[in-house]
């Protein structure tokens, strides 16, 4: 794979949950080093699309490639064959994910949360994993709480640990699913600051968010979704200030 290939490539994605159609033919490319913000009203399919990027959700039709890997499938003689759960797990190593509700492992300390996968999945030596974890925790400002349990942390602190935990796998791309939506307003800033720094370091990021300010300041591209399709895609000032579509205008006025 060379620099010219997209790191994420979604082709003709369709998905419905029972009677409810969520995605109807979505195409999206994310390039190395790019920060893409997925925005749109709730129910527009942006979270489903994000979760498909590491196969937590399966498409009804269409394919997603991440770093060249066909996520969840093997193409053989023109047919897609489902991969075993273990092969899917292997594919996910290169993709970091941060959840709206943090999902820190409740029975493990902050440090144990961060070293769990590097030791258990990558086979890193414990001492090396701890060293890496301490670096990352320092970066997100949580090194002093390394021995705390998640229940002892605020939402913002939990989310910063969750970011460190995902980064400890040294992923090629980071997915964020509404990372600040479950936070008290005064805690949002700390998490966004960490994400801003991560973006500045060159990390490829796909962020589902309602934070217009963050999207304007950090995103290379804003992708606006509505009713299961992408209605607008472009640089922040274009999408936010000179929207071409009525649906974009309606969404943006509702955000203010």
């Amino acid at each position: 794979m060379n620099q010219q290939d997209p790191i994420i490539e979604a082709r003709d994605i369709h998905k419905s949950f029972g009677q409810v159609t969520v995605l109807t033919g979505v195409d999206l490319e994310v390039w190395p080093g790019e920060v893409v913000c997925l925005m749109g009203a709730s129910g527009s399919g942006k979270t489903t699309l994000l979760r498909m990027m590491n196969h937590l959700e399966t498409p009804d039709r269409g394919t997603i490639r991440v770093g060249g890997d066909l996520m969840g499938y093997r193409l053989h003689k023109g047919r897609l064959h489902e991969l075993s759960p273990s092969r899917v797990a292997d594919q996910r190593r290169q993709i970091g994910m941060v959840f709206q509700h943090f999902n820190l492992f409740g029975h493990k300390t902050v440090l144990e949360n961060v070293i769990e996968a590097p030791v258990g999945v990558l086979g890193l030596r414990r001492s090396a994993a701890i060293e890496r974890a301490q670096d990352l925790l320092a970066k997100v400002g949580m090194h002093e709480r390394a021995d705390a349990y998640p229940a002892q942390l605020s939402g913002g602190q939990k989310q910063r640990v969750a970011i460190a935990r995902a980064l400890a796998m040294e992923p090629k791309v980071m997915l964020f699913d509404e990372p600040t939506s479950a936070l008290d307003p005064e805690l949002v800033g700390g998490v966004l600051a960490v994400m801003r720094e991560l973006a500045a370091s060159g990390m490829t990021m796909v962020v589902v968010t309602h934070e217009v300010g963050f999207a304007r300041g950090v995103a290379d591209r804003i992708v606006l979704m509505s009713d299961g399709v992408i209605v607008e895609s472009g640089p922040p000032d274009e999408v936010l200030d000179r929207p071409r579509h009525e649906r974009t205008r309606r969404f943006l006025s509702a955000m203010r």
């Binding site: 590491n54 937590l56 759960p85 273990s86 797990a89 292997d90 996910r92 190593r93 993709i95 970091g96 994910m97 959840f99 509700h101 999902n103 820190l104 492992f105 409740g106 029975h107 493990k108 300390t109 769990e116 996968a117 258990g120 999945v121 349990y149 998640p150 229940a151 002892q152 969750a162 935990r165 995902a166 796998m169």
Partner: protein, 281 residues
């Protein structure tokens, strides 16, 4: 009417006179009951004291402990397998597990113990081999293999497994889906997610009902006296049969069951504290 602003009015607590009266009545009843048993002319407490640490009784206590612990351990292992099978996305496997639970829970454990204890009546030999072919690697007469201890252990362990399976299933379901999703997103494989992330957190929810199961099992071992299991009750009943000290020997059994259940309860408290790691209310 004027209110003195300088001092807030004092609070006069309600006096629970009725509760005090009820307490007195209950105490009188309890003391009366204890006196009537302790001073009962038909019970010779010296016999109870004499047999409390009798060798035959202690053999029974030891057998009861062994039956309870071994059945519990086998029940937990089998229960984990059945419980996870019940949760499996493999439909036939889940169905088999559900049927096992239905069957075992549907038949009184006393009946199951009698069936295992009398298995020699309808099964002559136990073989290991290839089904539907004459090939066999090992065989043994059922009566030699399934002695009362084995019958009792099988009966109790199967019963335990069915209940443990349900406890494990509810424990696993109690762990938020986000936990396994986060683990999956980190590239962990399903087995590892279950072992490292889900089961340890399910444990906290599983320990109290498991403790109850164990206490029930300790007492449930007394049922094996119907197949001469050699447990505490069997032994005290045997002594009572020759000495005619029925109530005195039942008191011996009562004493030991209370001791064992008390120990099990203490163990449960220790385990709950250990498994509650990282959890604050």
């Amino acid at each position: 009417m004027s209110i003195d602003d300088s001092a807030a009015p004092r609070i006069a607590r309600r006096r629970p006179y009725l509760s005090w009266l009820a307490l007195v009545v209950v105490l009188v009843l309890i003391v009366g009951a204890i006196r009537s048993v302790a001073n009962n002319p038909y019970i010779d407490w010296s016999v109870t004291r004499q047999y409390l640490f009798n060798d035959q009784v202690l053999t029974g206590v030891w057998m009861t402990v062994r039956l309870a612990v071994i059945s519990m351990l086998l029940g937990i292992v089998l229960g984990i397998l059945v419980g996870l099978a019940r949760l499996s996305r493999n439909r036939p496997l889940a169905q088999v597990a559900a049927s096992f639970i239905l069957l075992i829970r549907g038949v009184p454990v006393l009946v199951q113990l009698l069936i295992w204890g009398n298995i020699g009546l309808f099964v002559q030999t136990v073989k290991i081999g290839v089904p539907f072919t004459p090939i066999e690697f090992w065989s043994s007469p059922a009566n030699d293999l399934i002695v009362p201890f084995v019958a009792a252990t099988i009966g109790l362990a199967l019963h335990e497994a069915a209940y443990m399976a349900e406890i494990i299933r509810s424990g696993v379901l109690s762990v938020d889906r986000g936990q396994s999703e986060a683990a999956a997103a980190l590239g962990m494989r399903p087995g590892r997610i279950m072992r490292r992330i889900v089961l340890p957190q399910a444990l906290r929810v599983m320990i109290p009902p498991t403790g109850n199961q164990f206490v029930t099992l300790v007492k449930g071992t007394s049922l094996v006296s119907v197949i001469a299991g050699g447990d505490l009750l069997t032994q005290t009943q045997n002594i009572a049969a020759t000495s005619y000290r029925i109530i005195e020997m039942l008191a011996v059994a009562t004493f030991w069951y209370l001791v064992l259940v008390g120990l099990a309860g203490a163990l449960q408290v220790v385990l709950e504290r250990w498994a509650g790691k990282g959890h604050t209310r």
